[in-house]
Amino acid sequence: MKIKVNYFGRLAELAGTASEQVALPAASDSENLLKKLEERHPLLKGQISALAINGEILQKAAKLHAGDEADLFPPFAGG
């Protein structure tokens, strides 16, 4: 299944892109996605501070579905 991934702030620089499609096996969850992204972009390791799926920031791992959209965030720095 395919997931759209958006990188915010510093993460877009580390990944070398602001957005990409990622293919995952069926029944993958958000932990599988993070592991895959860190394999694809080793500079992301230890830099992701929050993940949102379809506009909801996750508090714990969640199942993913084809067509989901993931937003990856570095530490928030508003103000």
Binding site: G9, F76, A77, G78
Partner: protein, 142 residues
Amino acid sequence: MKDVFVQGPIDPEKIAGSIAAHQKKKDIGAHHLFLGQVRADEMQGSRVRAIEYSAQKEIANRVIHEIREEAFARFELSCLHIYHSLGKVEAGAICFFVFVSSAHRLQSREALAFLVDAVKARAPIFGKEIMEDGSHQWKRNR
């Protein structure tokens, strides 16, 4: 849901206008304002010239809406307003404006501290610090 984002710096005239607009509301006895200003920090021999803000706007607006609701539930407030910049804001300009009004000062004072801290901690907003020498780094909140 209200869009808290303003493109570029927050104009001091807007802040003055906002204060003036509250003179009609005569149940208010106290206003507390927070104005975040871009600081020309010096790092590795160069100074911050500007911060370029970006955000996941949809989530940030929703989170800030929830923070507003929490503030109204916790404190006795007449009204509150939150604005945050997006895009480039030069050093010395205002990037974050929180305006809280209540009948008495204690409620608005405590609500303001809660609101400023909550927006900084919970809203997905990011700042790219552009240095005078053309390099950049990413803002980290203390």
